[in-house]
Protein backbone atom coordinates (compact mmCIF):
# COMPACT_ATOMS: atom_id res chain seq x y z
CA UNK A 1 0.00 0.00 0.00
CA UNK A 2 1.17 3.48 -0.73
CA UNK A 3 2.02 5.48 2.36
CA UNK A 4 -0.08 8.52 3.19
CA UNK A 5 1.17 11.74 1.65
CA UNK A 6 1.25 13.42 5.04
CA UNK A 7 1.06 11.83 8.42
CA UNK A 8 1.20 13.14 11.95
CA UNK A 9 1.32 10.50 14.65
CA UNK A 10 0.35 11.78 18.08
CA UNK A 11 2.51 14.82 17.41
CA UNK A 12 3.24 17.22 20.23
CA UNK A 13 5.14 20.46 19.91
CA UNK A 14 6.23 22.58 22.82
CA UNK A 15 7.90 26.00 22.59
CA UNK A 16 9.23 26.78 26.03
CA UNK A 17 6.18 26.68 28.28
CA UNK A 18 3.65 26.79 25.47
CA UNK A 19 2.41 23.55 24.01
CA UNK A 20 1.26 24.64 20.56
CA UNK A 21 0.28 21.17 19.37
CA UNK A 22 -0.96 18.66 21.92
CA UNK A 23 -1.26 15.28 20.30
CA UNK A 24 -2.40 15.57 16.70
CA UNK A 25 -2.85 12.41 14.65
CA UNK A 26 -3.94 12.60 11.06
CA UNK A 27 -3.25 11.14 7.65
CA UNK A 28 -3.79 12.91 4.37
CA UNK A 29 -3.95 10.81 1.22
CA UNK A 30 -3.18 11.38 -2.42
CA UNK A 31 -5.57 13.74 -4.16
CA UNK A 32 -7.25 15.08 -1.05
CA UNK A 33 -8.11 18.77 -0.68
CA UNK A 34 -7.82 19.44 3.01
CA UNK A 35 -8.39 22.62 4.94
CA UNK A 36 -7.02 22.97 8.44
CA UNK A 37 -9.31 25.38 10.13
CA UNK A 38 -8.97 27.11 13.44
CA UNK A 39 -8.68 30.47 15.15
CA UNK A 40 -5.37 32.28 15.38
CA UNK A 41 -2.96 30.50 17.66
CA UNK A 42 -4.82 27.18 17.39
CA UNK A 43 -1.73 25.31 16.20
CA UNK A 44 -2.36 25.24 12.46
CA UNK A 45 0.93 26.75 11.40
CA UNK A 46 2.85 24.59 13.86
CA UNK A 47 1.10 21.50 12.46
CA UNK A 48 2.09 22.49 8.91
CA UNK A 49 5.66 23.17 10.04
CA UNK A 50 5.79 19.69 11.58
CA UNK A 51 4.53 18.15 8.34
CA UNK A 52 7.20 20.04 6.39
CA UNK A 53 10.03 19.28 8.78
CA UNK A 54 10.50 22.99 9.49
CA UNK A 55 9.89 22.04 13.11
CA UNK A 56 10.60 18.79 14.90
CA UNK A 57 7.90 17.27 17.11
CA UNK A 58 8.71 17.29 20.83
CA UNK A 59 7.15 13.83 20.89
CA UNK A 60 5.27 11.74 18.37
CA UNK A 61 6.13 11.69 14.69
CA UNK A 62 5.70 13.31 11.32
CA UNK A 63 6.06 11.58 7.94
CA UNK A 64 6.00 12.92 4.45
CA UNK A 65 5.48 10.26 1.75
CA UNK A 66 6.44 7.78 4.45
CA UNK A 67 9.82 9.48 4.90
CA UNK A 68 11.35 11.89 7.37
CA UNK A 69 10.01 15.32 6.28
CA UNK A 70 13.63 16.56 6.13
CA UNK A 71 14.47 13.93 3.52
CA UNK A 72 15.27 15.57 0.21
CA UNK A 73 13.32 12.90 -1.68
CA UNK A 74 10.19 13.83 0.29
CA UNK A 75 10.83 17.57 0.02
CA UNK A 76 11.27 17.26 -3.74
CA UNK A 77 7.62 16.22 -4.02
CA UNK A 78 6.30 19.21 -2.03
CA UNK A 79 5.48 22.78 -2.85
CA UNK A 80 5.10 25.32 -0.09
CA UNK A 81 3.56 28.72 0.39
CA UNK A 82 4.37 29.95 3.87
CA UNK A 83 2.63 32.63 5.84
CA UNK A 84 5.80 34.52 6.65
CA UNK A 85 8.59 34.39 4.17
CA UNK A 86 10.39 36.45 1.61
CA UNK A 87 12.41 36.29 -1.55
CA UNK A 88 15.24 38.55 -2.70
CA UNK A 89 13.71 41.82 -3.86
CA UNK A 90 16.29 42.36 -6.57
CA UNK A 91 15.55 39.22 -8.60
CA UNK A 92 12.82 39.21 -11.23
CA UNK A 93 9.81 36.92 -11.16
CA UNK A 94 11.27 34.81 -13.94
CA UNK A 95 14.68 34.57 -12.29
CA UNK A 96 13.13 33.47 -9.01
CA UNK A 97 11.22 30.73 -10.81
CA UNK A 98 14.40 29.55 -12.48
CA UNK A 99 16.14 29.57 -9.10
CA UNK A 100 13.42 27.72 -7.21
CA UNK A 101 12.93 25.34 -10.11
CA UNK A 102 16.57 24.29 -9.80
CA UNK A 103 15.79 22.82 -6.35
CA UNK A 104 13.44 20.26 -7.92
CA UNK A 105 14.17 17.22 -10.07
CA UNK A 106 11.43 17.90 -12.63
CA UNK A 107 10.53 21.59 -12.52
CA UNK A 108 7.99 23.04 -14.89
CA UNK A 109 9.12 25.71 -17.34
CA UNK A 110 9.15 29.12 -15.60
CA UNK A 111 6.65 30.35 -18.21
CA UNK A 112 4.13 27.73 -17.20
CA UNK A 113 4.33 28.65 -13.50
CA UNK A 114 4.06 32.31 -14.48
CA UNK A 115 0.94 31.57 -16.52
CA UNK A 116 -0.63 29.51 -13.72
CA UNK A 117 -0.15 32.40 -11.34
CA UNK A 118 -1.28 34.99 -13.89
CA UNK A 119 1.95 36.95 -13.69
CA UNK A 120 2.76 37.20 -17.41
CA UNK A 121 2.98 40.98 -17.31
CA UNK A 122 5.22 41.01 -14.25
CA UNK A 123 7.63 38.30 -15.42
CA UNK A 124 10.50 40.75 -15.91
CA UNK A 125 9.77 42.84 -12.84
CA UNK A 126 11.86 42.62 -9.71
CA UNK A 127 10.05 41.05 -6.76
CA UNK A 128 10.47 44.20 -4.68
CA UNK A 129 8.35 46.16 -7.14
CA UNK A 130 5.32 43.86 -7.00
CA UNK A 131 2.09 44.80 -5.25
CA UNK A 132 0.89 42.78 -2.27
CA UNK A 133 -1.48 40.67 -4.35
CA UNK A 134 1.11 40.08 -7.08
CA UNK A 135 3.56 39.01 -4.41
CA UNK A 136 1.13 36.39 -3.12
CA UNK A 137 0.76 35.14 -6.69
CA UNK A 138 4.53 34.99 -6.98
CA UNK A 139 4.64 32.81 -3.87
CA UNK A 140 1.99 30.63 -5.46
CA UNK A 141 4.10 30.31 -8.61
CA UNK A 142 7.12 29.37 -6.48
CA UNK A 143 5.02 26.74 -4.68
CA UNK A 144 3.97 25.06 -7.93
CA UNK A 145 7.14 25.55 -10.01
CA UNK A 146 8.65 22.22 -8.95
CA UNK A 147 5.52 20.47 -10.25
CA UNK A 148 4.99 18.94 -6.79
CA UNK A 149 2.49 16.25 -5.84
CA UNK A 150 1.44 17.99 -2.66
CA UNK A 151 1.22 21.69 -1.95
CA UNK A 152 0.99 23.31 1.45
CA UNK A 153 -0.58 26.73 1.75
CA UNK A 154 -0.33 28.44 5.11
CA UNK A 155 -2.98 31.18 5.25
CA UNK A 156 -2.51 31.99 1.56
CA UNK A 157 -5.14 34.70 1.24
CA UNK A 158 -4.28 36.83 4.26
CA UNK A 159 -4.25 40.47 3.23
CA UNK A 160 -5.99 39.90 -0.11
CA UNK A 161 -9.12 41.79 -1.03
CA UNK A 162 -12.31 39.85 -1.77
CA UNK A 163 -11.79 39.77 -5.51
CA UNK A 164 -8.17 38.69 -5.32
CA UNK A 165 -9.06 36.04 -2.78
CA UNK A 166 -11.78 34.69 -5.03
CA UNK A 167 -9.46 34.51 -8.03
CA UNK A 168 -6.78 32.92 -5.93
CA UNK A 169 -9.04 30.21 -4.55
CA UNK A 170 -10.16 29.49 -8.07
CA UNK A 171 -6.52 28.97 -9.09
CA UNK A 172 -5.91 26.60 -6.23
CA UNK A 173 -9.05 24.65 -7.02
CA UNK A 174 -8.03 24.29 -10.67
CA UNK A 175 -4.68 23.03 -9.56
CA UNK A 176 -6.35 20.55 -7.19
CA UNK A 177 -8.23 19.11 -10.16
CA UNK A 178 -5.00 17.79 -11.62
CA UNK A 179 -4.90 15.17 -8.87
CA UNK A 180 -2.64 17.15 -6.61
CA UNK A 181 -2.92 16.89 -2.87
CA UNK A 182 -3.59 20.24 -1.26
CA UNK A 183 -3.26 21.14 2.38
CA UNK A 184 -4.31 24.62 3.34
CA UNK A 185 -4.65 26.40 6.63
CA UNK A 186 -7.10 29.19 7.06
CA UNK A 187 -9.12 30.96 9.63
CA UNK A 188 -11.62 31.98 6.98
CA UNK A 189 -14.39 29.47 7.29
CA UNK A 190 -15.83 30.43 3.96
CA UNK A 191 -12.54 29.56 2.35
CA UNK A 192 -12.47 26.06 3.82
CA UNK A 193 -16.07 25.58 2.81
CA UNK A 194 -15.49 26.63 -0.80
CA UNK A 195 -12.25 24.83 -1.37
CA UNK A 196 -11.91 21.73 0.69
CA UNK A 197 -13.38 18.27 0.56
CA UNK A 198 -12.22 17.65 4.07
CA UNK A 199 -11.99 20.05 6.96
CA UNK A 200 -9.81 19.41 9.99
CA UNK A 201 -10.78 21.75 12.77
CA UNK A 202 -7.97 22.52 15.18
CA UNK A 203 -8.40 24.37 18.41
CA UNK A 204 -5.92 24.80 21.23
CA UNK A 205 -3.53 22.32 19.68
CA UNK A 206 -5.92 19.40 19.22
CA UNK A 207 -8.13 18.18 16.38
CA UNK A 208 -11.74 18.71 17.38
CA UNK A 209 -13.36 17.69 14.10
CA UNK A 210 -12.29 15.96 10.89
CA UNK A 211 -15.02 15.57 8.24
CA UNK A 212 -16.46 17.03 5.06
CA UNK A 213 -17.67 20.63 5.27
CA UNK A 214 -21.25 19.40 4.87
CA UNK A 215 -20.88 16.85 7.66
CA UNK A 216 -19.39 19.38 10.00
CA UNK A 217 -22.21 21.78 9.35
CA UNK A 218 -24.97 19.20 9.67
CA UNK A 219 -23.55 17.45 12.69
CA UNK A 220 -23.77 20.60 14.68
CA UNK A 221 -26.69 22.69 13.58
CA UNK A 222 -28.23 21.18 10.49
CA UNK A 223 -30.47 23.65 8.68
CA UNK A 224 -31.58 27.12 9.48
CA UNK A 225 -35.26 27.96 8.85
CA UNK A 226 -35.81 31.67 8.70
CA UNK A 227 -39.02 33.64 8.01
CA UNK A 228 -40.92 36.81 8.81
CA UNK A 229 -44.26 36.57 10.51
CA UNK A 230 -46.79 39.22 11.53
CA UNK A 231 -47.97 37.10 14.44
CA UNK A 232 -46.18 37.68 17.69
CA UNK A 233 -44.62 34.24 17.99
CA UNK A 234 -43.41 33.16 21.38
CA UNK A 235 -41.47 30.16 22.45
CA UNK A 236 -44.68 28.65 23.91
CA UNK A 237 -46.24 28.61 20.43
CA UNK A 238 -43.55 26.20 19.30
CA UNK A 239 -43.76 23.55 21.99
CA UNK A 240 -43.51 20.04 20.62
CA UNK A 241 -41.46 21.10 17.60
CA UNK A 242 -37.97 19.72 17.08
CA UNK A 243 -35.43 22.45 16.88
CA UNK A 244 -32.16 23.13 18.63
CA UNK A 245 -32.20 26.90 18.87
CA UNK A 246 -34.68 29.73 18.42
CA UNK A 247 -33.90 33.34 17.64
CA UNK A 248 -36.60 36.00 17.47
CA UNK A 249 -35.43 39.29 16.09
CA UNK A 250 -38.46 41.60 15.72
CA UNK A 251 -40.60 40.00 12.98
CA UNK A 252 -37.79 37.70 11.91
CA UNK A 253 -37.79 34.19 13.35
CA UNK A 254 -34.85 31.79 12.99
CA UNK A 255 -35.03 28.12 13.94
CA UNK A 256 -32.15 25.69 13.80
CA UNK A 257 -33.14 22.11 13.13
CA UNK A 258 -32.03 18.85 11.56
CA UNK A 259 -35.56 18.14 10.31
CA UNK A 260 -36.75 21.30 8.53
CA UNK A 261 -39.51 19.49 6.55
CA UNK A 262 -41.32 18.23 9.65
CA UNK A 263 -40.88 21.56 11.34
CA UNK A 264 -42.41 23.48 8.44
CA UNK A 265 -45.33 21.03 8.12
CA UNK A 266 -46.08 21.55 11.81
CA UNK A 267 -45.88 25.32 11.48
CA UNK A 268 -48.29 25.27 8.50
CA UNK A 269 -50.60 23.07 10.49
CA UNK A 270 -50.62 25.55 13.34
CA UNK A 271 -51.59 28.33 10.95
CA UNK A 272 -48.44 30.40 11.20
CA UNK A 273 -48.16 32.88 8.32
CA UNK A 274 -44.82 33.15 6.53
CA UNK A 275 -43.11 35.79 4.47
CA UNK A 276 -39.64 35.65 3.03
CA UNK A 277 -39.12 31.99 3.98
CA UNK A 278 -35.58 30.62 3.73
CA UNK A 279 -34.23 27.19 4.49
CA UNK A 280 -30.43 27.11 4.30
CA UNK A 281 -27.61 25.01 5.66
CA UNK A 282 -26.12 26.76 8.62
CA UNK A 283 -22.81 28.16 7.50
CA UNK A 284 -19.51 26.84 8.66
CA UNK A 285 -18.97 29.84 10.87
CA UNK A 286 -21.86 28.83 13.09
CA UNK A 287 -20.74 25.21 13.07
CA UNK A 288 -17.28 26.33 13.95
CA UNK A 289 -18.34 28.50 16.84
CA UNK A 290 -20.44 25.66 18.17
CA UNK A 291 -17.53 23.22 17.86
CA UNK A 292 -14.91 25.40 19.47
CA UNK A 293 -17.41 26.45 22.12
CA UNK A 294 -17.99 22.82 23.03
CA UNK A 295 -14.29 22.15 23.20
CA UNK A 296 -13.98 25.10 25.54
CA UNK A 297 -16.65 23.72 27.83
CA UNK A 298 -14.89 20.37 27.94
CA UNK A 299 -11.60 22.01 28.76
CA UNK A 300 -13.16 24.02 31.54
CA UNK A 301 -14.94 20.96 32.92
Amino acid sequence: MQPAVVELIDAHKRYGHVEAVRGVSLAIHRGELVAMLGPNGAGKTTSINLMLGLRKPTSGGARLFGLDPDDRRARSRCGVMLQESGVPDTLTVRELLELFGSYYPHPMAPERAIALAGLEEQARQQAGKLSGGQRQRLYFALAVCGDPEVIFFDEPTVGMDVEARHAFLHTIREFGREGKTIVLTTHYLEEADQLAERVIVIDRGVVIADATPAEIKSSVVGKRVSFITMQQLKEDDLTGLRYSRLEIDGDRVRLFTNTPETLLRELFGRGVDFHDLEVVGADLEEAFLALTGEAEKETVA
Binding site: L54, R55, S85, T90, L91, S102, H106, Q126
Partner: protein, 263 residues
Amino acid sequence: MSAAATADVAPLGRMLVTQTRFQLLTRLRIPAFSVLSLGLPVMFYALFNAIYGSTKLNGVTGSEFILVSYATYAVANVMVFNFGMGIANERGRKLDLLQRAMPLPPIVAAVAQVVAALLFALIALLILFAYAFLVGGVRLGVGIWLDLLWRLIIGAFPMIGLGMAIGYGVGPNTAPAVVNAVYLPMAFLSGIFFPLRLMPDFLQKIGQTLPTYHYAELGWNVLGGGVADESVLRALLWLAGWAVVLLGLAVRIYRLDESRKFS
Protein backbone atom coordinates in the same frame (compact mmCIF):
# COMPACT_ATOMS: atom_id res chain seq x y z
CA MET B 1 17.69 10.97 -20.29
CA SER B 2 15.84 8.05 -18.70
CA ALA B 3 18.02 8.32 -15.63
CA ALA B 4 17.14 12.01 -15.37
CA ALA B 5 13.47 11.28 -15.85
CA THR B 6 13.39 8.89 -12.91
CA ALA B 7 15.66 10.91 -10.63
CA ASP B 8 13.84 11.74 -7.42
CA VAL B 9 16.07 14.63 -6.41
CA ALA B 10 17.68 17.47 -8.34
CA PRO B 11 21.43 17.27 -9.06
CA LEU B 12 23.37 19.13 -6.36
CA GLY B 13 25.99 20.55 -8.71
CA ARG B 14 23.45 22.32 -10.89
CA MET B 15 21.64 23.54 -7.78
CA LEU B 16 24.86 24.99 -6.35
CA VAL B 17 25.72 26.76 -9.60
CA THR B 18 22.23 28.28 -9.95
CA GLN B 19 22.07 29.24 -6.29
CA THR B 20 25.49 30.92 -6.46
CA ARG B 21 24.68 32.75 -9.68
CA PHE B 22 21.47 34.24 -8.33
CA GLN B 23 22.98 34.97 -4.93
CA LEU B 24 25.68 37.01 -6.65
CA LEU B 25 23.13 38.74 -8.88
CA THR B 26 20.95 39.59 -5.87
CA ARG B 27 23.85 41.34 -4.14
CA LEU B 28 25.20 43.07 -7.23
CA ARG B 29 21.81 44.67 -7.77
CA ILE B 30 21.68 46.22 -4.30
CA PRO B 31 23.21 49.66 -4.92
CA ALA B 32 24.26 50.20 -1.31
CA PHE B 33 26.38 47.07 -1.43
CA SER B 34 27.82 47.42 -4.89
CA VAL B 35 28.75 51.09 -4.41
CA LEU B 36 30.27 50.40 -1.00
CA SER B 37 32.15 47.25 -1.97
CA LEU B 38 33.11 48.02 -5.55
CA GLY B 39 33.50 51.79 -5.44
CA LEU B 40 34.95 52.65 -2.04
CA PRO B 41 38.28 50.82 -2.41
CA VAL B 42 38.90 52.44 -5.79
CA MET B 43 38.04 55.83 -4.31
CA PHE B 44 40.46 55.41 -1.42
CA TYR B 45 43.12 54.09 -3.75
CA ALA B 46 42.71 57.07 -6.08
CA LEU B 47 42.94 59.51 -3.16
CA PHE B 48 46.01 58.07 -1.46
CA ASN B 49 47.67 57.29 -4.76
CA ALA B 50 47.42 60.97 -5.68
CA ILE B 51 49.20 61.87 -2.43
CA TYR B 52 51.80 59.12 -1.95
CA GLY B 53 51.78 57.32 -5.29
CA SER B 54 55.15 58.59 -6.49
CA THR B 55 57.11 57.79 -3.30
CA LYS B 56 59.49 54.88 -3.57
CA LEU B 57 61.03 52.48 -1.04
CA ASN B 58 63.55 49.83 -2.08
CA GLY B 59 62.14 49.74 -5.57
CA VAL B 60 58.54 49.47 -4.42
CA THR B 61 56.41 52.43 -5.47
CA GLY B 62 53.76 54.02 -3.30
CA SER B 63 51.19 53.16 -5.98
CA GLU B 64 51.95 49.48 -5.63
CA PHE B 65 51.93 49.53 -1.85
CA ILE B 66 48.63 51.41 -1.71
CA LEU B 67 47.11 49.07 -4.27
CA VAL B 68 47.82 46.08 -2.06
CA SER B 69 46.48 47.95 1.00
CA TYR B 70 43.15 48.69 -0.64
CA ALA B 71 42.95 45.27 -2.25
CA THR B 72 42.86 43.68 1.22
CA TYR B 73 40.45 46.38 2.33
CA ALA B 74 38.20 45.63 -0.66
CA VAL B 75 38.01 41.92 0.11
CA ALA B 76 37.46 42.49 3.84
CA ASN B 77 34.68 44.97 3.02
CA VAL B 78 32.90 42.48 0.80
CA MET B 79 33.04 39.83 3.52
CA VAL B 80 31.74 42.08 6.26
CA PHE B 81 29.21 44.25 4.44
CA ASN B 82 28.11 42.30 1.44
CA PHE B 83 28.29 38.85 2.87
CA GLY B 84 27.80 39.47 6.62
CA MET B 85 25.31 42.29 6.63
CA GLY B 86 23.69 40.82 3.54
CA ILE B 87 22.92 37.61 5.43
CA ALA B 88 21.66 39.58 8.45
CA ASN B 89 19.31 41.54 6.19
CA GLU B 90 18.07 38.43 4.43
CA ARG B 91 17.38 36.72 7.74
CA GLY B 92 15.60 39.83 8.99
CA ARG B 93 13.32 39.69 5.97
CA LYS B 94 12.75 35.94 6.49
CA LEU B 95 14.30 34.93 3.20
CA ASP B 96 15.70 31.91 4.99
CA LEU B 97 12.32 30.43 5.92
CA LEU B 98 10.94 29.62 2.49
CA GLN B 99 14.36 28.50 1.29
CA ARG B 100 14.54 26.13 4.23
CA ALA B 101 11.23 24.50 3.26
CA MET B 102 12.60 23.77 -0.22
CA PRO B 103 14.50 20.65 -1.26
CA LEU B 104 17.66 22.79 -1.11
CA PRO B 105 20.10 21.35 1.42
CA PRO B 106 21.13 24.09 3.90
CA ILE B 107 24.79 23.29 3.25
CA VAL B 108 24.35 24.06 -0.47
CA ALA B 109 22.78 27.41 0.42
CA ALA B 110 25.66 28.19 2.82
CA VAL B 111 28.39 27.19 0.33
CA ALA B 112 26.67 29.28 -2.36
CA GLN B 113 26.76 32.27 0.02
CA VAL B 114 30.52 31.90 0.49
CA VAL B 115 31.28 31.28 -3.18
CA ALA B 116 29.12 34.25 -4.22
CA ALA B 117 30.97 36.44 -1.71
CA LEU B 118 34.33 35.31 -3.10
CA LEU B 119 33.15 36.04 -6.64
CA PHE B 120 31.95 39.45 -5.54
CA ALA B 121 35.36 40.08 -3.97
CA LEU B 122 36.99 38.98 -7.22
CA ILE B 123 34.94 41.53 -9.15
CA ALA B 124 35.94 44.24 -6.65
CA LEU B 125 39.61 43.25 -7.09
CA LEU B 126 39.47 43.22 -10.86
CA ILE B 127 37.98 46.72 -10.87
CA LEU B 128 40.67 47.93 -8.47
CA PHE B 129 43.46 46.20 -10.42
CA ALA B 130 42.19 47.69 -13.67
CA TYR B 131 42.13 51.17 -12.17
CA ALA B 132 45.62 50.75 -10.69
CA PHE B 133 46.92 49.51 -14.02
CA LEU B 134 45.27 52.09 -16.23
CA VAL B 135 45.23 55.19 -14.05
CA GLY B 136 47.75 54.43 -11.29
CA GLY B 137 50.30 53.12 -13.78
CA VAL B 138 51.05 50.05 -11.65
CA ARG B 139 53.03 47.49 -13.62
CA LEU B 140 53.58 44.15 -11.94
CA GLY B 141 54.61 40.91 -13.62
CA VAL B 142 51.79 38.49 -14.43
CA GLY B 143 53.20 36.12 -11.80
CA ILE B 144 53.05 38.84 -9.16
CA TRP B 145 49.45 39.77 -10.03
CA LEU B 146 48.42 36.12 -9.73
CA ASP B 147 50.43 35.64 -6.53
CA LEU B 148 48.68 38.68 -5.06
CA LEU B 149 45.26 37.40 -6.11
CA TRP B 150 45.89 34.00 -4.56
CA ARG B 151 47.06 35.57 -1.27
CA LEU B 152 44.03 37.83 -1.16
CA ILE B 153 41.71 34.84 -1.46
CA ILE B 154 43.54 32.60 1.03
CA GLY B 155 43.81 35.43 3.52
CA ALA B 156 40.11 36.22 3.29
CA PHE B 157 38.97 33.23 5.34
CA PRO B 158 39.09 34.92 8.77
CA MET B 159 36.96 37.71 7.33
CA ILE B 160 34.52 35.16 5.88
CA GLY B 161 34.20 33.79 9.41
CA LEU B 162 33.64 37.27 10.83
CA GLY B 163 31.03 38.10 8.19
CA MET B 164 29.19 34.85 8.75
CA ALA B 165 29.25 35.27 12.55
CA ILE B 166 27.73 38.74 12.19
CA GLY B 167 25.25 37.59 9.54
CA TYR B 168 23.82 34.73 11.58
CA GLY B 169 24.41 36.23 15.02
CA VAL B 170 22.56 39.52 14.87
CA GLY B 171 19.55 41.02 13.17
CA PRO B 172 19.53 43.63 10.43
CA ASN B 173 19.11 46.49 12.92
CA THR B 174 22.00 45.48 15.14
CA ALA B 175 24.36 44.46 12.34
CA PRO B 176 25.56 47.98 11.43
CA ALA B 177 26.37 48.69 15.08
CA VAL B 178 28.30 45.45 15.45
CA VAL B 179 30.16 46.08 12.21
CA ASN B 180 31.12 49.55 13.42
CA ALA B 181 32.22 48.27 16.81
CA VAL B 182 34.19 45.28 15.51
CA TYR B 183 35.27 45.81 11.94
CA LEU B 184 36.04 49.53 11.89
CA PRO B 185 38.71 49.38 14.62
CA MET B 186 40.06 46.26 12.93
CA ALA B 187 40.46 48.08 9.64
CA PHE B 188 41.83 51.19 11.33
CA LEU B 189 44.49 49.27 13.27
CA SER B 190 45.54 47.09 10.34
CA GLY B 191 48.00 49.59 8.91
CA ILE B 192 46.01 49.91 5.72
CA PHE B 193 45.03 53.54 6.26
CA PHE B 194 48.02 54.68 8.32
CA PRO B 195 51.32 52.95 8.86
CA LEU B 196 51.01 51.12 12.16
CA ARG B 197 54.42 52.41 13.33
CA LEU B 198 53.05 55.95 13.45
CA MET B 199 50.56 54.92 16.12
CA PRO B 200 51.01 54.80 19.91
CA ASP B 201 52.81 51.72 21.15
CA PHE B 202 49.81 50.01 22.74
CA LEU B 203 47.71 50.47 19.61
CA GLN B 204 50.53 48.95 17.56
CA LYS B 205 50.54 45.94 19.91
CA ILE B 206 46.80 45.49 19.52
CA GLY B 207 46.96 46.04 15.78
CA GLN B 208 49.62 43.40 15.33
CA THR B 209 47.30 40.71 16.69
CA LEU B 210 44.40 41.48 14.34
CA PRO B 211 43.59 39.41 11.24
CA THR B 212 43.33 42.53 9.08
CA TYR B 213 46.96 43.41 9.92
CA HIS B 214 48.30 39.98 8.98
CA TYR B 215 46.12 40.00 5.87
CA ALA B 216 47.71 43.28 4.73
CA GLU B 217 51.19 41.99 5.63
CA LEU B 218 50.60 38.85 3.56
CA GLY B 219 49.68 41.09 0.64
CA TRP B 220 52.55 43.60 0.99
CA ASN B 221 55.01 40.75 1.17
CA VAL B 222 54.38 39.97 -2.47
CA LEU B 223 56.01 43.29 -3.44
CA GLY B 224 59.38 42.43 -1.87
CA GLY B 225 61.75 45.26 -1.03
CA GLY B 226 61.27 44.72 2.68
CA VAL B 227 58.03 46.72 2.75
CA ALA B 228 56.34 44.03 4.83
CA ASP B 229 57.27 43.60 8.51
CA GLU B 230 56.32 39.99 8.67
CA SER B 231 57.30 36.82 6.83
CA VAL B 232 54.74 35.03 4.64
CA LEU B 233 54.81 32.00 6.92
CA ARG B 234 54.17 34.04 10.04
CA ALA B 235 51.31 35.92 8.38
CA LEU B 236 49.81 32.67 7.13
CA LEU B 237 50.00 31.07 10.58
CA TRP B 238 48.28 34.05 12.22
CA LEU B 239 45.60 34.04 9.54
CA ALA B 240 45.07 30.30 9.87
CA GLY B 241 44.62 30.74 13.62
CA TRP B 242 42.11 33.53 13.14
CA ALA B 243 40.30 31.50 10.47
CA VAL B 244 39.88 28.60 12.89
CA VAL B 245 38.63 30.89 15.66
CA LEU B 246 36.26 33.01 13.56
CA LEU B 247 34.93 30.23 11.34
CA GLY B 248 34.46 28.09 14.46
CA LEU B 249 32.51 30.90 16.08
CA ALA B 250 30.49 31.42 12.89
CA VAL B 251 29.53 27.74 12.67
CA ARG B 252 28.46 27.73 16.32
CA ILE B 253 26.32 30.82 15.79
CA TYR B 254 24.88 29.35 12.59
CA ARG B 255 23.90 26.16 14.42
CA LEU B 256 22.33 28.16 17.24
CA ASP B 257 20.23 30.15 14.79
CA GLU B 258 19.32 26.92 13.03
CA SER B 259 18.18 25.16 16.20
CA ARG B 260 16.22 28.19 17.36
CA LYS B 261 14.26 28.39 14.13
CA PHE B 262 14.04 24.86 12.86
CA SER B 263 13.85 22.44 15.77
